[in-house]
Every structure is written in C-alpha cells, then in structure tokens.
C-alpha cells in the first residue's frame, strides 16, 4: 500500500464532502442561485409595477407542456441520485445507465421547452414580460445545457472506468449541480407559471 511510505496517519486528498473542490462547487452554486434570485426579483418588481394585466395579454403561461416537463426534470434528478448511489456501492453499470437516462431526460426537457418557445404568441422583444419570460427560462435552459455537457463529460469518464466507490468527486459535483438546476426550475415554474394564477 502506498500509505506505508507516509509517516502520517491521514488520508491523501480524500474525495469526500470536505474536499476543497466540493466546497468550491457549493459556492459556485450559491452564486448561480443568487443570479436567479436577482432575475426573479426583476420579474416580481416589474409585475408589481405593471399598470395593466400581468401577463400583458391576460393569458397565463400554459401548463400543458410545462407541467409534464417539470415532472421530467424532477424524475431526472431521481435518476441522477440513483446513479450516484450506485457508484457509492461500486456498481459501474448502475452509474453508467443512470447517467445515460438522466442525459436523455435532460435532452427531452430542452426539446419540450423548445417546442413551447415555438408556440408562444410573443417574443423577447414584444414587451417587458416577454423579455423576462425568455431571459429567465432561457438562462435556466442554458444551465440545463451546461448540466448536460457536464453529464457527457463524467459519462465519458464513467465509461473509461475512472470512478470507484470512494473516488468520484467529479461525479458527485455534477450530480449536485444537476439537483441545483432542478430546484431552480421548480422555483422558476412556481414563479412564472403558478403565481399569476393565484392573483
């Protein structure tokens, strides 16, 4: 064992929850979450300042596509959790399958969102509501895309057999990021799709 050469009774760069990279990812998520808080602040600020109806044409955003899409993203968080729990037990196949299913669900989410975009009666340049709607959901979509690219990256590493039961920090970070993207969507969904119906 390599440890024998060391006079210290301490683990070497263990990839657990205390690894610097883990804390770094949490802080990255904190600052990204703040970014969405400021976007949503802008949404509610302009909503509160609106002189006419909000949304401007009086039509609340449709749930026909967005509600199933929300469920798809929540399920994908579950599959990501399943994959990570697999590698904790050293199950390579479960890791690879879980990541692949998550990737497909994430791509499905983006495709459905694209479909919804093409059905909208307004564009980002129609009115401030349109600017907000497309900017907020667009930035979220970009985060989903980033999460998918990370997924592809760790998936390549998973198929190359880089991860073990104790050494899979990169995967855990990507999983954490994916859950974050999921939580952001739930907040965006509640803000943009549900709150206008409550008024």
């Amino acid at each position: 064992m390599a440890m024998v050469a060391r006079p210290y009774d301490l683990p070497i760069s263990p990839q657990d929850g205390r690894a610097p990279g883990r804390l770094g990812m949490m802080l990255l998520i904190a600052t990204e979450a703040s970014f969405f808080v400021y976007l949503l602040f802008s949404y509610f600020y302009l909503a509160s300042m609106a002189r006419g109806a909000w949304p401007p044409d009086g039509n609340n955003p449709a749930l026909r596509l967005s509600l199933p899409n929300t469920i798809i993203l929540i399920v994908s968080s579950g599959t990501m959790w399943w994959a990570e729990a697999g590698i904790r037990k050293g199950q390579q196949a479960r890791l690879r399958i879980g990541l692949l299913v998550t990737l497909i669900l994430g791509m499905l989410f983006l495709a459905i969102q694209g479909l919804e975009y093409s059905n909208q009666s307004f564009t980002p340049a129609t009115h401030a509501y349109g600017s907000l709607f497309f900017t907020i959901t667009g930035f979220h979509g970009a985060h989903v895309a980033a999460g998918l690219l990370m997924n592809i990256f760790v998936q390549a590493r998973a198929w190359a057999g880089h991860f073990t039961a104790t050494r899979h920090l990169a995967l855990s970070n990507v999983a954490l990021y994916w859950h974050f993207v999921d939580v952001v969507w739930i907040v965006v969904f509640l803000s943009l799709y549900i709150t206008p119906r409550l008024g």
Binding site: M1, R6, L10, I12, S34, Y38, F41, A128, Y129, T135
Partner: protein, 640 residues
C-alpha cells in the same frame, strides 16, 4: 508524526517540487500564489496609473471656467473610465493581490486551496481590463458614468458600442472576481495550518472572507443588470423601457444591490490589512480583536441592506427611504468599533512612526472624515440637497482614498520588502506620504464646498462668475500634488530594487507567520508546516504566552506538492492535500472567454459561438485527469 527540524528538512527537494517551470511555459502556466499575487498587484497599479491619468485630464479641464481641453463626449468617456478603472480594475484587484500573496504565508500553507482557479482569476482580470480599455482604440469608451443609468445608456440615447463595452466588460470582470472569491472562502475554511483556529487568524483574513462572501451573493446582481442592459440594447428587449412594461428604476435597484456591498468589498480587506499593521507599529497586539473581527463581518452583512440610500432622490415612498436611512446610519456603529480599537491599540502601545504607520494614521483620519460625510448623506432631506453634486464626489473619494488607497500604500511599504527582499526608503516614504495626504485633502475637502455652492458632478466645464473657480483651482492643485506623491512612490520602488537595503526575514519585528520565512519566501513557503498556538506566533516569547507555536519543526510533507487540509473551526488536520501542477488551461480558458466577449460585443455571432465552444472544450481539457495523476491515484488505498 514524523518530526523534522528545518536544517534536516529536504529543502532542495521541496524547492524542486514547488518551483514554477523555467521559461515561457512557466510564465504562462504558473499557479504559484506568490507570483499570481504579485501580478495582481502590479497589474492593478498599472490600472491605478491609467485611472490617475484620466483624473489628471479631468482636473486640468476643470482648473478654471471655460477650459476646452476635452469636448463633452471625451470628458464623459474619461470620467466614466476613471470610475470603472478605479473601482473595478484597481480597488478590488489590488486587495486580491495582497490576499493572494499573503494568505498562505500568514496561515502556514503552501498555496491557496484552488491554485488553478487562482490563475484563472488573474488571467480573466487582466483580459477583462484589456477588453474594456480597447474601447479607447475605436474612440467608443463607456460614457454613462460608472453606474450607467438607463434610459440614458439605452440604445435610443447611446447607439454606439460604448455601453456594450461597459456591460460585457463588467460581466467579464465579475467572472474573475467571483472565482477569486470562491477560492478565498475555500482557502479560509480548509487550508489554515494546524492549530490556527478561527480566533487566531489575522484580521485581513476576516476582511477578505467577508468581502468574498459578499461577492458571491452580490455580484450576480451586477451580472443580471448588465445582461439585461445588453439584451435591451442588442436584441431590443424592454427590461428598462417604461413604454413596454419595463422600468428604469429596475436598473438602479439591481445596480445598487450590487453597488453598495461592493463599497464594503473594496474596503473591508483594506481595513483588515490596516488592523494587521497597526499592532506592529504600536508594539502590542491589537486591542479588541474579537470586536474588530465581528464588526468586519457585521459591516459586510449590513452592507446588503442599504442600497436604497443611493436612490433617495428617485421618488420612492418615505417609509422605504426612512428605513434605508436608518440602516445606513447604523453602519457607523461597526465602523466606530474598529476605529476605537485602532486608537486603543496605538494609545496603549509604544508607536514607532515609520512610513507604513504614517499612512495608517492618514487612513484613520480620512476614514473619520469620509464616515462623517457618509452619515450626513444618509439623512434623506440632506441627501436631497446633495444628490449629484460635488459633495457626494468629496464623500466617496474620502472613503475610497481613505479606506482603500491609504491602507494599500501602507501595505506596499510594509509588505513589498517581503516580496522583493529590499526595503523602500524611509526618506522618500515620508515625502510620498505627506504629498499624498496633503494632496488628497487639498483636492477633496474643497469639493464639499463646491458641492454646497451647487456645482453638479460630471459637468465637462462651467461658466465664469458662478463662484466655483477658486475651489476648483485648489482641487486641481491638490490632485497634482497627490499625483506627484504617487510618482515619487514609483521612483522609490524602482530605486529600492537595486539600492534598497536587504530586508531580512522580519524587518519590522512583526508578529505574524509570513515574517518567519525568508524575503522573498521560497517556492514552498514553509520547509515544515508550522503548528500555531496563538494570534502572534513571533511575539510569544516576550508576551509570556503559555504555549508556543512550532516553527521550524513539525511535519514536512514532501511527497509531491502537498499541504494539510484542516477543519474549519479548530484547524485540526484531517487530510493531506495534493496540490495541482502548473497548467496552461486557465490562460487558454480566459483567452477563449475573451474571444466570446468580442463576438458578443460586435454582434459577430459565429465568433461568439466559436468562442463558447472553445470555452467548453477548454473546461473539459482542464477537468480531464492527466495520466500521471491517474497512476498516482491507482496507488492510493481504497478507504472504507
């Protein structure tokens, strides 16, 4: 644990392990926090000179009535770039530079927690600064003031690229500042030497930690605002367009939600630097350490709740402005606590009046004057009289020169000998101090008066007979005197490199760990990792401390680039961290970001997309584990 004393520590092997590779590769790929820290300081000082030249243009233009050295548009660009440069490219980066250089040396570590992120932070800072300054090449520098209020900065009234440079440049800088802040927070909680519990860290650590946490939560407001501004301008969106359901005040809210925390971000680390220098020159430990640390953190938190005091004149409800007025005045309490702690330290000490100490006294004096005018402007009715006139300019310069520039110059005189191994001249230093101190007061005190006389800020010239000529003449003379002080500092610095006396390890007889290593420090910082037992490891003997910090004996950690990972509160070592090697990826990534931003700037979409794809590939290249490292990993035992 293996105990080795310094003479037996394998310093040759350590040096070989930690040295940056020679040649161009090493220059571009280094991740050494000392090199990065020095680069930050030098680059920030270059921007300080650029901002100073812009200030000199402004003061020459305003030296008396009806001067037309610059036309109105040129003047707008110059004052905007002065503000943007000083606030974003000098005030914050220079403090990052000191923190980068000093933190690991102060806490007994061998590097920052995320060395390659550190390199990325520097390269993006440099390239974002270059990005913004290239606007001068096409004569379209930002011209909307450093806070760029809409609708004036919207597409209708500002059709050029000026404000696009501003919006994209600030988003770019935000990336640099944010990744830097993440690195500081992780370092604070993971990298302190064994025994350096939370109540033993130097105050600069509290200052930079508070600032970094504020950065993580406040900077996204600036990014969001700049993204919206860019979208409004480039894609015809309507965030700030009142005709289509937007609102101009949304910009002001977002900007100041970022902007006021930013004020504390650029002063808290400087206050920390001062709190660590004052004890050295008072020959005693800091009085009220806990209170100073707590007031630092408190100020950063309160800083999030005062943004509306920049908007008292915008017609917000009285209840709201009153609340924010009270919150703003409350900031005086933690500031006062710190000031009394410094005065108590000096009062009960035996002060030694060397150059850094002169700057620290100047800092306290200017801080008090700027603080008092701050409380004045926090009162709503008084603020209505002062909004957008020179009183506000006087206030903000007292604060920023007092609490940022003066501690920074104290720190330059104090820590440059550690970096270069050479002392600066005491004789020059006194001239530098008095020129800067008298110059600053001569320049900025009369601005209170010109404000009271009704002179609005940001006018490019003024008519004769308004009674403003004399005060402006005095202000301009003060500005030149201040500039002379800065130039004399540069002379002193370059002189010191060749003729300055050797500094030795601890020229000031200071108490903290960075003074226990040679000047300049070796690549590995500490031959053996110290074990800390007090707040002032080098003064324990004379202070009759019961416990003694171990310096020069203890764990060596020489199997590659290694340092301890320690627990957040008590700093107990729980792991040995393997630190990354030099890497070109941070530079490549920053360069690809630059390509993306130029694509967005000029609306050349294929270039922006190409840049983005290259950014993604660079990130993948950065994160892909290198083969050598894999083999090393395979040797590691599986735990659990």
């Amino acid at each position: 644990m293996a105990i080795a004393t310094a003479p037996t520590a394998p310093v040759g092997k350590l040096a070989k392990t930690w040295e940056t590779a020679p040649g161009l590769y090493g220059v571009l790929a280094t991740v050494d926090h000392k090199t990065i820290g020095k680069r930050y300081i030098v680059t920030a000082l270059v921007f300080f000179l650029a901002g100073g030249i812009e200030a000199a243009f402004m003061r020459t233009q305003l030296i008396h009535s009806n001067v037309h050295l610059l036309d109105a548009e040129e003047y707008n660009q110059i004052f905007t770039m002065h503000g943007v440069t000083m606030l974003f490219l000098f005030a914050s980066p220079i403090l990052s530079g000191f923190s980068n250089y000093l933190w690991p040396l102060m806490i007994g570590a061998r590097d920052m927690a995320l060395p390659r992120v550190n390199a990325l932070s520097y390269w993006t800072f440099l390239l974002s600064g270059v990005f913004i300054y290239t606007s001068f090449l096409i004569g379209q520098a930002p011209d909307g003031g450093w806070f760029a209020y809409v609708p004036m900065t919207g597409r209708t009234y500002s059709p050029g690229l000026n404000i696009d440079f501003y919006a994209l440049g600030l988003i770019f800088i935000t990336i640099s500042t944010t990744v830097g802040a993440v690195n500081f927070v992780v370092t604070f909680f993971r990298m302190r030497a064994p025994g350096m519990s939370l109540n033993r860290v130097p105050i600069i650590m509290w200052g930079t930690l508070s600032a970094s946490v504020a950065i993580i939560f406040a900077l996204p407001a600036l990014s969001a605002a700049c993204v919206m501004l860019y979208f409004d301008r480039r894609f015809g969106m309507h965030f700030f367009d009142a005709a289509e359901g937007g609102h101009p005040l949304l910009w002001q809210h977002l900007f100041w939600m970022f902007g006021h925390p930013w004020v504390y971000i650029i002063v808290l680390p400087a206050i920390g630097l001062a709190s660590d220098m004052i004890p050295t020159f008072s020959r005693r430990p800091l009085a009220g350490y806990t209170f100073v640390a707590l007031s630092t953190v408190t100020t950063a938190i309160l800083g999030f709740g005062v943004w509306v005091h920049h908007m008292f004149a915008t017609g917000l409800p009285m209840l709201a402005t009153t609340f924010f007025s009270a919150a703003s005045m409350m900031i005086a309490i933690p500031s006062g606590v710190s000031i009394f702690a410094w005065i108590a330290t000096i009062w009960h000490g035996r002060p030694v009046f060397r150059t850094p100490f002169l700057f620290l006294i100047g800092f306290i004096v200017l801080f008090v004057i700027g603080g008092v005018s701050g409380v004045m402007t926090a009162a709503v009715p008084f603020d209505w009289q002062l909004t957008d006139n020179y009183f506000v300019v006087a206030h903000l310069h007292y604060v920023l020169i007092g609490i940022n520039v003066f501690p920074v110059f104290a720190a330059l005189y104090y820590w440059l000998p550690k970096m270069t191994g050479r002392m600066l001249s005491e004789r020059y230093g006194r001239w530098v101090f008095w020129l800067m101190f008298l110059g600053a007061n001569l320049a900025f005190f009369p601005m209170h008066i010109s404000g009271m006389l009704g002179m609005p800020r940001r006018i490019y010239t003024y008519q004769a007979g308004l009674g403003w000529d004399t005060v402006n003449l005095i202000t301009s003379i003060g500005a030149y005197v201040f500039a002379l002080g800065v130039l004399l500092f540069l002379v002193d610095f370059f002189r010191s490199l060749s003729v300055g006396p050797e500094a030795g390890d601890n020229p000031w007889d200071a108490p903290t760990l960075e003074w226990s290593v040679s000047s300049p420090p070796p690549p590995y910082n500490f031959a053996v990792i110290p074990t800390v037992r007090s707040r002032h490891p080098l003064w324990e003997g004379r202070l009759d401390e019961e416990y003694h910090t171990l310096i020069g004996s203890g764990p060596v950690l020489d199997h590659g680039r290694e340092t301890f990972g320690t627990s957040a509160l008590d700093s107990d070592p729980f792991e040995i961290l393997q630190m990354p090697e030099d890497s070109l990826w941070p530079l490549i990534l920053a360069a690809m970001m630059t390509v993306t931003f130029y694509g967005l700037l000029f609306g050349v979409w294929w270039l922006a997309i190409l840049g983005l794809v290259l950014v993604i590939l660079s990130l993948a290249g950065w994160c892909w584990p290198r083969p050598a490292r894999d083999e090393e990993m395979d040797l590691l035992p599986e735990e659990g």
